[in-house]
Symmetry: C2
Subunit: 545 residues, 2 copies
């Protein structure tokens, strides 16, 4: 498993030693095409380019797909699903391992083109490639093990009175064709071959990716890797499609296609909600699993400030500015109780933020949007912006009473900024939390503070993951991770887009009554050669029947 | 566990021996009130009555709640949720057991009032009460065992390089306040204290029930039972509310209330979709788990017809007419291959249907709607209605080619009717199945017919439960049951409304990072005194940590 926090901190270190765009140039062939029905095709829609966020230059030219090409991609993927159903779990696991290998085999050309498109730098991109391959392999391991299928068997009781009891068996099964929308801020780990694609393929689905227009060349290279893995493993090439496009219409047509069975999305609340609405308003509604905006409240309780205020300030500054603040779990609301130590903490945090170079925004749109958000926030009544360098992150401060009257302040500012909310007492702090919408994470710093239980209880209803004495950036990819939260941080709070439980989003349930062994999915047959954990007549066991 | 098929067949037997409305009269006090904020209150809206479907007489008078009373009910339930969070699993299990006891303690008065409102007869209602109590106790057993919480623990690795790994733990948690909409066709098992309420309470939620206007007195009595159980177990009375009402506005206001966190519904596709849309279009969308219409295709393959056609016809006639055909799993589409034996099968089925007295419809609306559906179906081009007695079920026959041009025929006819679709060959039969929307069940009768694998494969994509050589009515309440299916049979096909897995609908997921033992949910603490199955560092175990 790859720890992203670790990678990011390593990157911060390396970033001081290397300058962007100094790699040796490798010959990279970017065609600008989409991958449709198992073949590379030039889009029939309008032209667009990605921009190098460091130099502002255009990077290659791409052509958007048209409606007919989307239709072709989805219907190809849907037909391929019938073939996928015939593949056993080991073949599927080998495919995932193979995708990871081919992704690694792309070598420096992937790093180069991805850096040109995102400005994230070699170290970060290399680390993210490691995470992406780690995710693919983690899902391979998961499906080899088989427990994830939640197999349940209730055996027949032929002589039960007054009527025999039938043999009933239930298991998770793939849904069909999944549409995946790539995120701008993780061009590998939440993109073409990222977590959504990996989990959807692991579950046995076919996938249609809408590539992010911020890194279309990266998406093309990743798709080339996947194409090779599919060929090597004799899977149907139509099972995966990658569509280039920059217009909202492409997304709309894709989500509304009758043969799309679920959607995975990572991005803004505004766009996520549009896609969710499209999914819900179809003649046959489908779930749009959108992981959206989150401002990740962080509480620092009095003892924690008194005892290690400066350490917390340093760590928090790092978390706010990590990856130019462009992380879903960036802490954006800092709640304090006003006391003798809190002014020093604010000073320490402001100073720490000021000492960090924030790096590059992923694209012009995000940079502009960040500037706009800062201007709007400055204009809120009662708020003060701490002075600092132009090229630094931004810290605001506002009294809790005033914050409660400015609900817009809870919205995510995507970038390196945070708002300190100064509370008169613990009741007001709890009132602020109780007024929150949903967030992915909630963090509390406490050194045996008596208020801890109260704050945990209030926070629990508002967030998906509660962290004590740590920082929310650093989303461990592991079985117990939950990367989801109450709306608007995600559309289905019981589902996660990080960690092995993510596979459940792209599964349905099927139940078999009196079906003969040879027609049952392998994990439901009497013999259990792989020792899958199954619930048999109400009790968990790995035994044969 | 109670087998409903068993009960129903017992009822059919008893129904020949008893006549409705011949019980000794018991003094039943029905007040017409709703249960709001832990107190009985007369609705401030308009008056309505339930009707005795046998005699047509009005049964008691009820008053609909108004918007302010809905607000009171939901906010009371939502406040009570904070108290519910402090209750341990054993207390919750005792509450469920206690509700079952109090339901039984209502004795003959519940049977009498329920029969007056539904005309279902003593035997069926007694059986259904048994199933309802069985469900409540099954959820008590489930939560005592604790495995259902899907606890996952990844322990810390403090010396991991380059950064320590945090302690991360994940578990299912209650959602908040659940709105439950009662079904007309199961006045106990899918109503006030039915499966949705039982699973929502088992998961730790508070519940607001919208009583079905077809059996409001039954709902009042059930709520009285629950009130006693809550008092005996020292739970907050506001945790449950029962709202009387016959207008769509009551449902609308309830689903749109910001403090409702999920909805359980059983009923028609039309109403289910309206509620789903209301849930999806809220400022903060919520899932509406609607179990809706289904026509439950049933295929009889040639060998099966040749070898036991008459037996299948007899069983099928029973399944079509069971409970006057008012079951979600009634088989409504019968697919045959035209051959030398198929005409005899059609005759046998028609004759068998004709010999069964269909009993009473649940209410006037359903009766009228059934008659309308029959008239509309008769008018479809190419369809023939088999002659039969006025008081019998209805059998139609149509060629597959014609069926494919009449998509409306796939819609559920709620009542004792079925359409035979005669197919030229197996390819056409598969084509018909491939054209289906979603259904709860799909049944195949086969005696080593070579077409079986093909039919199973086609059916699997269209239904939630596949049955071989049986009948879909008879939904076993057990861990492996799945009562859900692709849209329009339900809104979230991966969820079930029958069986213990139903509890998952009303749960969310919470994740705890570095949280001290005393602040963790019990099932996530190191000590595991109840031997709950947990995934610890990727491996399932019941051990302590």
């Amino acid at each position: 498993m790859i720890n992203f926090k670790a990678i990011s901190i390593k990157i911060n270190y390396l970033a001081k030693n290397i300058k962007n765009n100094q790699f040796k140039t490798v010959q990279v062939m970017i065609t600008g095409k989409s991958y449709i029905g198992g073949a590379w095709k030039i889009g029939k829609g309008k032209e667009f380019s990605a921009q190098n966020p460091v130099t502002g230059e255009n990077v290659n030219v791409f052509k958007e797909v048209d409606q007919q090409q989307i239709e072709e991609a989805v219907s190809g993927a849907n037909s391929a699903f019938e073939i996928l159903k015939t593949k056993d779990m080991e073949s599927r696991a080998q495919l995932l391992d193979s995708i990871a290998e081919e992704l690694e085999a792309l070598g420096p050309q992937l790093i180069e083109i991805c850096d040109k498109e995102t400005g994230l730098g070699e170290a970060r991109i290399t680390g993210e490639r490691g995470r992406t391959c780690g995710q693919l392999r983690a899902f391979a391991t998961l499906i080899r093990k088989g427990d994830w299928q939640q197999a349940r068997i209730d055996t027949a009781i032929p002589d039960r009175e007054p009527l025999p009891k039938a043999d009933i068996r239930r298991i998770l099964r793939p849904l069909g064709t999944i549409a995946v929308f790539s995120a701008s801020n993780f061009p590998l780990a939440f993109s073409t071959l990222g977590g959504d694609t990996a989990s959807a393929i692991a579950a046995g689905n076919s996938v249609v990716v809408k590539a992010h227009p911020s890194h279309p060349g990266t998406s093309e290279l990743c798709t080339q890797a996947l194409e090779k893995a599919i060929a090597k493993n004799n899977f149907p090439p139509e099972m995966f499609a990658m569509l280039q496009g920059a217009s909202p219409e492409v997304s709309q047509v894709l989500v509304q296609h009758p043969q799309i069975h679920a959607v995975g999305f990572t991005g803004s609340t505004a766009v996520g909600r549009i896609l969710y609405n499209l999914g819900a308003s179809r003649p046959n509604p489908i779930p749009v699993f959108a992981e959206m905006g989150s401002t990740n409240p962080l509480v620092v309780l009095p003892n924690a400030i008194a005892q290690r205020g400066n350490d917390i300030a340093q760590g928090l500054a790092g978390s706010i500015t990590l990856g130019t603040g462009q992380f879903c779990t960036k802490p954006g609301l800092i709640l304090l109780l006003k006391d003798e130590h809190s002014p020093n903490f604010v000073k320490d945090l402001t100073k720490a933020i000021d000492s960090i170079n924030i790096g590059h925004f992923l694209n012009k749109r995000i940079k502009t949007s960040f500037k706009d958000s800062i201007e709007k926030t400055k204009a809120v009544e009662g708020i003060t912006m701490k002075d600092g360098k132009d090229e630094s992150g931004k810290i605001f401060e506002i009294d809790a009473g005033q914050f409660l009257q400015s609900p817009r302040l809870e919205e995510e500012i995507f970038g390196p900024a945070a708002i300190i909310i100064s509370c008169e007492d613990i009741d007001q702090l709890i009132e602020v939390i109780a007024g929150f919408g949903g967030h992915l994470t909630g963090t509390i710093h406490s050194d045996e503070d008596i208020e801890l239980a109260k704050v945990i209880s209030a926070m629990e209803r508002k967030v998906g993951r509660i962290i004590l004495n740590g920082f929310p950036t650093g989303v461990e990819v592991c079985p117990s991770m939950h990367h989801g939260g109450p709306y608007p941080s995600s559309t289905f709070e019981a589902t996660t887009s990080v960690g092995t439980a993510a596979i459940e989003r792209f599964c349905t349930v099927k139940c078999y009554q009196n079906i003969p062994q040879e027609h049952l999915p392998l994990a439901l047959r009497n013999k259990n050669p792989n020792n899958i954990l199954r619930m048999v007549n109400g009790t968990f066991t790995t035994d044969d029947i």
